[in-house]
Each structure stands twice: as structure tokens, then as C-alpha cells.
Amino acid sequence: MVALVTGFTIAEPAFLSARSAVFILQSVAITGILALGVTATLVVGGFDLSIGAVATSALMLSAYTMVIWDLGAVEAVVFCLAMGALVGLINGLLIVKMKVPDLLATLGMMFLLMGLQRIPTEGNSISTGMSLPDGSSATGVFAPGFLMLGRHRLDFILEDLIPLSVVFLLVIAFLVWGFLELTRHGRIMYAIGSNPNAAALAGINVARYRVLAYVISGTLASFGGILLAARLGRGDVASGNNLLLDAVAAALIGFAVLGAARPNAFGTAIGALFVGILLQGLTMLNAPYYTQDFIKGFVLVVALVFTFALSGRGGRALH
């Protein structure tokens, strides 16, 4: 990563500035938060494919709450987080109680949400003034407090330097890291990921912790969706297409960070940052979008080979 930063700085001096660093953080804030959720499910040996859809559902729901029901920022945030937690709960119960394999359950949930989020508006984006089925037009607006979540910047050294979303990313990354590494709940979740049988026999309520992991993942995804909505200022149905893949990439790269060879929050944050730096640097160098994909893939593969082959650690297979 140091090599990356140096390289880009030489090629484009503007790369290394406080503002540039903040851009990078801001651009990875949303994927980073989603990736931290995925990490929680990876830790208990699961996987959550529905996060992208949860985020876009939260985006639509918050817009619906404010624009069509004409409610405030607090309600919008509460509804979205509740929706995310509920989806996570359903995912968890499907997996734990109904014994549906994790990839299957969350894939189903993904399709379900992708459809569901468009039904209330018949596939239209939500924005102030849109016409409603009853012929009137929507009068609600995005609450300024809500928009601040995604747009407000704090003064820090430079004026207007640090966007709130970056603060959220850092706080959440720190919380998730602390939860997984420092509390007994986190340790128990790692034990479940490593050997669910042994964990159950040691008196751990495995089902409850697995559900918890999906609830965390769903809630964080919906929070990501809230930030997205706050930045867009409208319920745009097409946004958020790449969220899932980028979040998964970040979480998986996180595996490899520091030779941990296991899912971990610190690694995930670094993984998200890594992808962010790469893409920002390439953009500054005027690389067209397709070379960005190529280089992202290439660097990912090379990094992986270095981590896994050269460190000689097989790492556990993903589950």
C-alpha cells in the first residue's frame, strides 16, 4: 500500500494531500461500512449476499419516508435501521432455524429486496415533486438534518475537511473491530466460525450468535444505504449496483491483510482503503474505467498470491 501511495504521488503530486486522503476515505465510506457487515458474517462462517440490496432498499425507504410520507430525518433513519435489522433477522432465522445454506438464503433475500424496493413506486425514483398514483404530487423533502449525514463536513485543520460519512466509517470500523477482537462475544463468534459443533458443546448458543451476525450485517448495510441516500438526496433506483461486489472484495482482501488469513475488521477497513486508493490514483492518472477494473483485478490477484502462497499459510478455506 505504501508502494501504491508513493507511486501515485510521483505520477501526480496532487495525490498526496489532506484533501485527497479525505476523498479516498469518503469514496470508500459506504462500501467500507457494508464490508464490515460482511465481515461479521464471515467470522461466524457465513456469508451475506443481500447487503447491496439492503443498502438500496434503505435508500428507497428513507426517500419514501421523507418525500412521500412527509416525515422527518429521525423517522427515516429509525425506519431504515429497523428494516436492515429485520432483514438480517430474517436471513439469520432462515439460515439457523430453516437450515437454508447461507449463500442460498441471502441470495433469495437479495432478489426479493431488489424487487420489493421498486414496487411502492412502480420502479420510479423518488424525488420531491414526483407524481403519485392518486394524481397529486409528492410534497415532502429530504430533511436537511438527514442530508447532513452524507454531506456535512467538519473543520479539522483545514476548513470543511472531514465529511461526516468518514467519521462514521472510522467509528464503525473501530466499534466492529473492538467488538470482534476485544469482547467475549467477538471471541465466541470466531469460535463458532472455526468449529460450530465444539462451540455448541461448550454451551454457546450458536444459533443466537449466528443470527446476531446477520443482524449486524443487515443493520450496517442499511446504515450504508442511509449515507448513500443522504449523499444522493433522492431515492434513485439505479444506484448501488456495485456495492455488493466492492464490499465483498474489501472484506475478502481483508482476509489477507497482515497475514491474518481469517476475516477481521481491521483487515476489511484496510481492504476497502486499498481499493479506494487504487481507484482514485488511477482516475487521477486518467486511466479509463476498464483499465481500472483490470488493474483492480490484477493487483488483487497479485496481493493474494503474495499473502497466501509466499507466507505459506493455506489459511482456512472460506468456511
Binding site: L182, T183, R184, H185, R187, I188, Y190, A191, I192, G193, S194, N195, N197, A198, A199, A200, L201, A202, G203, I204, N205, R262, R316
Partner: protein, 492 residues
């Protein structure tokens, strides 16, 4: 108490009392229902009917956590159910503690201190911050035992705890059990090993076909009677007739397993069953690995039927007729998604397939029914899923896998792991009976077991082989001395 799986009535009216301050040994044939009984006592499964009382109070544990809280602590038969391999030893030793404690934050130093104390109590020497993944099987077993011991249990249940421990560690375990007994803990000990039972038992309960078939108290309890009650008949004696060995199949010259170990020679003959015994960690599995192409020796040459033999991988070894039945069946042998037939035919699928590699189910079925009959596997049929079999019967299937086809050299690493006395005799008899056209090498840590199958016994210590003993009027004391002498040497 009763319990059934579908139409298989596994427990059919069990009445059992476990007094405090005594070790009750539970003996039973494979599949008698011992592990099932344990699972009910510790809250993993429910009973279909019946009641349990603990210290006079009704006791129906709904979950392992509930059982633990009530002071019923269990070390399960499958070692891999005991540890989370990706976590460090500390977390593993404190796993149930983590589950039950209040408060959220971990205190790393305090945990490590506590873990060290627990580990020291059972003589586990590894650094507690190492991941369990790096530990040997024996040490993993010690981790689960240590965790159970640390609990001040009311009732301690051990399901075949010594199946992967050698004499030294087992000795340490026994001392600990003595102490708990004197502290008034009720102990239920399940084992197939006569030596364990002789050392520990205050009472012996025999179990057969899901029922208690005998209770033997008094000191010492009546072993012969207990075995008879367990089997329902006298045990047929194993008298070994040593045949004349044929030509050498495999010979090793100046084989050196590691840089620091002493080179040795080894030659294995047709029509001969050789047992290598020795402590855990003495290098038996390493030797097997070399013969089977899993690793290279440090130095030395191997010859198979007179030709140089340097297998690069197990595939090549099998093609050349060298087969290995690996120890630790759950990890290394059982294919959990397959039925019995498919588990048996796996290594020699070439024999059961014809044009375009298409399999011939008839040929597979014929082989598996033959092997089930010959090995006496207790099952409903060849299509049973392997996981529904009891441990001992799974083990029979794993051995049957390699006996199903002819081989030049058959290596069996701990083939009797978790197998009851009768089954052990059956397997041994079958191995001996089919040994004429190949060389057979058996690795086992238990001398009792070695005596039941061997023509010749070799002792391994510190990755090197000592002299051989013909299995005729063996001087047991000397043999034991050789095995433990090396332990002294190791300690020095």
C-alpha cells in the same frame, strides 16, 4: 430412559445410577448406545422417555449450556467436537467460560494466566497463545480434557478420552481422575481399553443393544464377567499362530526420518503382520507417511519387491500396491456425504468402472456387501449414510476400504481406534486371515492391541526403530521397558 432414531431403537430402557466419589466405567459394544446416552446426559439430545435426577433434583438439560451450569461436564468422543482449531489455546481452554460469563470485555493477560493454570493441571506444555491448529491430536485431546477438568464438575463424563493419548499422558489423566474422585465427583468413564478399565474402575456397567446387561461392583470388579455381559457370550481367545514369512516386500536401508534421528533398517515380508508400537510422537505416523508418499525421508533408500521405491504422492503409492489406512478417521478417512458402499470403494474406483470411466454399481454393491459381511459392520444396509454408524463401525468400514482389494503392503495406523473388544478381535482376525499375499504393517500405541495381531513387534522411539520381538511368550516387562525407556531418553 429410551431413545430411538426412526425405527432404530438405540436406548431401550436404561436404568443407571452414578454415585459420587466413584468412577463408573461404561463398557459396551460399538453401537450399543453409549455416546447416545452421554449426549442425553449433557443436553445435546433429548430422551424420548424417562427421567434423570441430579443430586435428588429432577434434571432435564435443554442445552449443553444448561448441563454445564448444573455441573455436568463432558469430554466427547470426537476430538474435533472439542476444540475450535483456528483459535488459540487460551480461548479454547476458556470457551465454555466465555459462553457463560457475564461482562463483555476480555482481559488478555488474566485469560492467559488462567489458561496456563488449567493447562498445567493436565500437563499440557504448549504455549497457550499458539493456535490449536498447530497442536497434535493428543494435545488437542488434552485441551478438551483440561477444559472439562477446570470446572469443578458434579458429574464428569469422559467418552473414550484416551483413544489418542499414549501411556504417559494417559497416566497423567488417571492421576487427575483419582483426585477428582477423592473430591467426591461422580465420574462416568467410557472406554474399550482394558488397561484403562483395570486402572480406574470402581464399578463396571456393561451395555448391550441399548440395555444395561450387567453391573459389577466390588474391588476389583469382575472384568471377565463384564466383558461377557457386554458381548452376550464368551470372548473368543486370540491365539496367534505365527506363519512362515514369505519373501521381503518392502525393505528400507539406513532410513533416517529426521536429521537428528538415528538411521535404521526395516524389512517387511509377505504373509507377516508387523506391529510398530511406541509413544505418541515417537514417529510412527511419520514412517507411514514416508512409505505412503506423503513425505520424504531425510536419508535412506526404500525398495519395493526389489525395485527402488520413491513414491511422490499417495496416488503413486496406491498404484504400486502400498496402501495406508490413516489414523483419525473423521479427519482423514470418512467421506461424510457418502454411504457405506461409496466409502468402501473410493480408493479403487478404477476396479469398479469400465468404458469411459463409467461406474458399475453392481460391482460396487458386491464388494461392499462382501466387506460388510466379512468385517461384521453393524448397519441396516450398504446404502446407510456413514454418519449414522457408531464410531467403531465407521472404523470397520475404513479398514474394509483397504482390505477390499489386494495390496503389496498394507499399513494400518491405529486401526483399533474406538473399536470394542469383540470388533477388535474381528478386525484383527480378518487382517491376519487375509495377510498371506502381502506384507502388513500395523502402527499402534497400545501394547495390548499389538499382542492381539502381531507376528512381530517393533518398538519405535525418537523416530528410530529398535530390535524386533517375535510375538511368542514375549517378555512384557522388557517390552514396556523399551517403550518407556525411550520416554526417559526423551525426557533427558
Amino acid at each position: 430412559m429410551t431413545r430411538s432414531f426412526a425405527r432404530n431403537h438405540v436406548l431401550r430402557g436404561i436404568n443407571l445410577t452414578l454415585p459420587a466419589g466413584a468412577i463408573t466405567v461404561l463398557m459396551g459394544t460399538n453401537g450399543a448406545g453409549k455416546s447416545t446416552l452421554v449426549k442425553i446426559l449433557c443436553g445435546v439430545q433429548g430422551a424420548d422417555s424417562g427421567t434423570i435426577t441430579l443430586d435428588g433434583q429432577p434434571f432435564t438439560p435443554a442445552s449443553p449450556a444448561a448441563a454445564l451450569r448444573a455441573g455436568v461436564v463432558t469430554v466427547h468422543q470426537s476430538i474435533n467436537d472439542g476444540v475450535a482449531a483456528d483459535l488459540d489455546i487460551t480461548s479454547n481452554l476458556l470457551l465454555d467460560d466465555l459462553a457463560s460469563r457475564s461482562g463483555s470485555f476480555l482481559n488478555g493477560r488474566k485469560m492467559r494466566d488462567k489458561a496456563r493454570a488449567i493447562a498445567a493441571a493436565v500437563g499440557l506444555k504448549a504455549d497457550v497463545s499458539r493456535p490449536v491448529r498447530e497442536l497434535s491430536l493428543a494435545d488437542r485431546q488434552l485441551v478438551s480434557i483440561a477444559r472439562a477438568m477446570s470446572h469443578r464438575p458434579r458429574l464428569l463424563i469422559l467418552d473414550e478420552p484416551t483413544s489418542s493419548l499414549s501411556a504417559a499422558e494417559a497416566g497423567q489423566l488417571f492421576t487427575l481422575l483419582d483426585r477428582l474422585r477423592s473430591e467426591g465427583v461422580a465420574i462416568l468413564y467410557i472406554s474399550h481399553r482394558m488397561s484403562d478399565i483395570r486402572r480406574l474402575a470402581d464399578r463396571i456397567v456393561s451395555m448391550r443393544d441399548g440395555q444395561i446387561s450387567g453391573l459389577f461392583e466390588g474391588s476389583p470388579p469382575d472384568y471377565a464377567g463384564a466383558v461377557r455381559a457386554m458381548l452376550g457370550h464368551e470372548i473368543n481367545s486370540s491365539d496367534i499362530q505365527i506363519p512362515a514369512p514369505g519373501p521381503a516386500v518392502l525393505s528400507a536401508k539406513a532410513l533416517q526420518l529426521r536429521a537428528e534421528s538415528r538411521p535404521f533398517d526395516l524389512s517387511l515380508h509377505e504373509n507377516e503382520v508387523v506391529v510398530i508400537t511406541g509413544l505418541v510422537g515417537s514417529g510412527k505416523t511419520e514412517l507411514a507417511g514416508i512409505l505412503y508418499g506423503l513425505r520424504r525421508p531425510h536419508a535412506g533408500d526404500l525398495c519395493l519387491d526389489g525395485a527402488p521405491y520413491q513414491p511422490r504422492d499417495p496416488g503413486e503409492a496406491v498404484r504400486k500396491g502400498v496402501c495406508l489406512s490413516a489414523r483419525d478417521r473423521r479427519m482423514n478417512a470418512v467421506i461424510p456425504d457418502f454411504d457405506i458402499t461409496r466409502n468402501i470403494t473410493l480408493p479403487f474406483l478404477g476396479r469398479h468402472s469400465g468404458l469411459l470411466a463409467l461406474l458399475r454399481p453392481g460391482s460396487e454393491r458386491a464388494t461392499s456387501t462382501r466387506m460388510i459381511r466379512e468385517m461384521g459392520v453393524v448397519c441396516q444396509g450398504p446404502k446407510d449414510s456413514i454418519l449414522t454408524l457408531s464410531g467403531g463401525n465407521q472404523q470397520k468400514v475404513m479398514v474394509a476400504r483397504w482390505l477390499a482389494e489386494a495390496s503389496r503392503l498394507l499399513i494400518l495406523d491405529e486401526p483399533f481406534q474406538g473399536v470394542d473388544i469383540q470388533a477388535r478381535r474381528d478386525i484383527a482376525r480378518h487382517i491376519r486371515a487375509s495377510a498371506a499375499r502381502r506384507a502388513t504393517l500395523v502402527l499402534c500405541a497400545e501394547i495390548d492391541e499389538a499382542l492381539e495381531i502381531a507376528d512381530r513387534i517393533l518398538v519405535m522411539s525418537e523416530q528410530s526403530l529398535g530390535a524386533g520381538h517375535r510375538n511368542e511368550n514375549i517378555d512384557l516387562a522388557r517390552l514396556m521397558a523399551e517403550v518407556t525407556a525411550s520416554a526417559a531418553g526423551q525426557a533427558a
